[in-house]
C-alpha cells in the first residue's frame, strides 16, 4: 500500500517500521521523545514504542555516540539523531576513532550496526551551525558508510536499509526538503545501500548530485532542454562508497561531467568524483569535470546564503562550460 508523505514523515514511517520489525532497534537523541524531534521526524514514536526504545538523552553528542557503541556491543541497533549538522562535531572522536574502526580493530568480532541521522544542508534561513554539509569528513573516514536521500520513497527505504546494515551508516537528511511530498510504497522491498540512480536521462552532460540539490538539478535539466541541451541527472544516494559504475557509464555516454553540492569545494565530494571519473574514463572526457559548490567559507548568515548555495543558474553556467559554450568564465583569467 502506498501513501502521499513528506520526506520527514517518510523517514518517520521507516523508523516506525524498523522499530516494529526488530526489537533490538532503539532511537536515541536530544528531544526525540515527547517533542518528536525539532523536525518532528520521530513524532509519536515514543508514545508508540515507549521510553526504553525511543530515548531522550542528556545533551552530549559524544556520549550519545559512545553509549550507542556500548549498546551495539550488547547487541542493540541504535539509531542516533544528531539534531543539526553543526552539532555532530563533539561526537567526531567517537564516530571516527571508535565507530569506524571497531570492526577492523577487533578483526571482525564486533559489529557496529549504528545509524546516525543528520538533518543537513542550508536554504532554511537559519543561524550559525544549522546549515552545514559535513558529509565529506565522513566519506574520507574508513569504516563508515555515508548516504543521503532526496525524495520520500528513498527516504523510507534507505533509512530501513541503513538500520538493517551491520555497518555504521551516516544518514544525511536534506532538511530543506523535509516538507517535499511524494508517493511512498510502504511495502517496497528496499535495495541494499550503495547504488546511485539516474533520475533524468540525457545525452550531452552528466550532472551528479545528492540530497537537497537533486531537485535543483532536475529543474536545471528541464531548463537546459529549452537551450537544446540534454542533461542526465544522477542522484548518488550513496556518498561512501560512490557508485562509480553508474556515473562512469553516464560519462562514457555524455563525455561531460558537472558535480554540484552545498559543501565547500576544496576537499568536498566533488573532488573525489572528478578525480575518480577522470581516472576511469579520461579518454572519454570532452572537457574537465566542473564543480558547482559552496565556497571555501563557513556557511554564511541567512541573508547571504543565496550567494553561497549552488542554484539553477550556476549549474547551467557550468553546463555551458563543459559544453564549451559562452559562460561566466569565458575569457576569464586569475588576477
Amino acid at each position: 500500500m502506498s501513501e502521499q508523505l513528506t520526506l520527514s514523515r517518510a523517514i518517520g514511517a521507516g523508523l516506525r517500521r524498523a522499530l516494529a520489525d526488530d526489537d533490538r532497534v532503539l532511537l536515541m537523541g536530544e528531544d526525540i521523545g515527547d517533542l518528536g524531534g525539532v523536525f518532528r521526524v520521530t513524532d509519536g514514536l515514543k508514545a508508540e514504542f515507549g521510553a526504553e526504545r525511543v530515548m531522550d538523552t542528556p545533551l552530549a553528542e559524544s556520549a550519545i555516540l559512545g553509549t550507542a557503541i556500548g549498546l551495539a556491543y550488547r547487541g542493540f541497533r541504535p539509531v542516533v539523531e544528531i539534531q543539526f549538522d553543526g552539532f555532530i562535531f563533539p561526537a567526531f572522536d567517537q564516530i571516527v576513532a571508535q565507530l569506524g574502526k571497531l570492526r577492523y580493530r577487533t578483526g571482525g568480532a564486533v559489529s557496529m550496526p549504528i545509524t546516525i541521522r543528520v538533518p543537513f544542508g542550508g536554504g532554511i534561513g537559519s543561524v550559525e551551525h544549522h546549515s552545514e554539509s559535513p558529509e565529506a569528513y565522513f566519506a574520507h573516514t574508513p569504516g563508515l558508510r555515508v548516504v543521503s536521500c532526496s525524495n520520500p520513497q528513498d527516504a523510507y527505504s534507505m533509512i530501513r536499509e541503513a538500520i538493517r546494515s551491520d555497518d555504521p551508516v551516516l544518514f544525511f537528511e536534506p532538511k530543506r526538503r523535509y516538507w517535499a511530498k511524494g508517493e511512498v510504497d510502504l511495502e517496497a522491498e528496499p535495495e541494499p545501500l550503495g547504488s546511485a540512480k539516474v533520475v533524468v536521462t540525457g545525452a550531452d552532460v552528466t550532472l551528479v548530485t545528492y540530497g537537497p540539490l537533486v531537485a535543483t538539478a532536475i529543474d536545471a535539466a528541464a531548463a537546459a532542454v529549452e537551450d537544446g541541451v540534454s542533461v542526465e541527472v544522477i542522484d548518488l544516494r550513496s556518498l561512501a562508497p560512490v557508485d562509480f559504475e553508474t556515473v562512469e557509464a553516464s560519462v562514457r555516454k555524455t563525455g561531460r561531467l558537472v558535480i554540484t553540492h552545498e559543501a565547500a569545494q576544496s576537499g568536498g565530494l566533488g573532488a573525489e568524483i572528478a578525480a575518480s571519473i577522470t581516472d576511469r574514463c579520461f579518454y572519454h572526457l570532452e572537457a574537465a569535470p566542473q564543480r558547482v559548490t559552496g565556497f571555501d567559507v563557513p556557511y554564511p548568515p541567512a541573508k547571504l546564503e543565496e550567494q553561497y548555495l549552488p542554484d539553477l543558474d550556476r549549474i547551467l553556467d557550468a553546463v555551458d562550460r563543459v559544453l564549451g559554450r559562452e559562460n561566466s568564465l569565458t575569457g576569464w583569467s586569475a588576477k
Binding site: T57, P58, L59, V127, F295, P301, D313, D317, A334
Partner: protein, 380 residues
Amino acid sequence: MRTEAALDSPRENADMNEWPEPREELVQILTPDGERLEQPLYDRWISDIDADALVALLEDLTVVRRIDVEATALQRQGELGLWPPLLGQEASQIGSARALREDDFVFTSYRENAVAYCRGVQLGDLVKVWRGTAFSGWNPFDVGMATPQVIIGAQTLHATGYAMGCKKDGVDSVAVAYFGDGATSQGDVNEAMIFAASFNAPVIFFCQNNHWAISEPVGLQAVRPIADRAPGFGIPSMRVDGNDVLAVMAATRIALDRARSGGGPTFIEAVTYRMGPHTTSDDPSKYEDRASHEEWAAKDPILRLTQYLEGEGILTDEVRAAVKSKADDVAREFRAECIGMANPEPMTVFDNVFAEPHSALDRQKQQFAAYLSYVEGSTR
C-alpha cells in the same frame, strides 16, 4: 556474587555516606511576594544597593522583558528568522551582569540578551544574528562580551582560557561563562571546570537552570542539583534563587571578589524558569505541564521586586511612569533599528575568513564576481 547483604543500602555498606544530602534550598533575599529576608552572609555584598539602585534594577528588568516581547513580535511579523525568549530569566541575567566591571569579559550562550543589554550592546545589534544579516551583532572587544555561542557549552572553555590570560597578565579582570542546565551535560563544560580549578583561573561559571533544555527537563541532565557538581572539582558553588535579582547580584559579587583576589573559579547555579518557548519555533505544549508553569508564574522576578518597592514606598507613580516610558522608548528604538537594518552586500560572503590572502578563496571570489557581472550582463 550476591550476598544476604545485597539489598542493604550501599550507604550502610561502605563509607559512601559522607556526602551531604542534595542541596535543594536556594539563597533568597526577596521572596516571591516581595518580602525581604535577612541574609547576613549576602546582605553585606549589596549594602550599596539603595532606593535609586533598586529602581534602576526594576527599570532594567522591565526594559529587557519589553525588548524580549518586542523581539517575539518582530519574529511573528517576519522581521526576525528566530528568537530565543529570556522571559522569566530577567533577574538571573540582570542581577549578574550588573555586578560586572567594564573590564570583565563575558562569554554567553544565545539567550543572554539581557546580559548583552547591560554590557552596552546597541539595541539593533541584539537582533542582527536573528535577522540573519550577520553572525555577530557587535565587536566583542567594544563591550567585553563575546559573540553568543550556539554550540552548547563551547564558550565555557573560552571563558576559562580568557581567565587564564587575565591571570598571566596580572590584571584582576574576571571572565564569566553563562550557560544553561542542559549545557552541564557537555564534556566541554566539565573540562572547563577542571582547567579552571587546575589553573585557579578567575572565571565564574554562571549556570541559568531554567528547568528545560528545549523539551528535556533538567532532571534528565542531572539527578541532583547542578550546583553540587562543582565542589567535586574543587570549585565552590552557590545555589541561588534566579528570580531574585538581589540574591543573584550578591552571589555574583562574592564570586567576582573571590576571583579578583586570587581565589579562583566559582560556580553559581541560578535557579529560574523558562516561561516562554525554547525559541519562537518551539511548541512547549508538546512537553510542558501547565502546573509547573503556573507555579513559576507566581515567582516572577519583576513582580516580586515591584511588590517590595511598593512596600518600601519607593515605587511612586512618577517612578512607575518613568520606568514605563523608558521601556516604551527602548521598544520603539529597538523596532526601528531592527526594521531599518541593511542587508549585507553579496560579495561580503567572502570577507573575513582569513586575516591574510588565501589563493584558493581569492580565486573563488574572483570567479564569483565574474559570474555576477556575467549574469547581470545577460539579464540586462
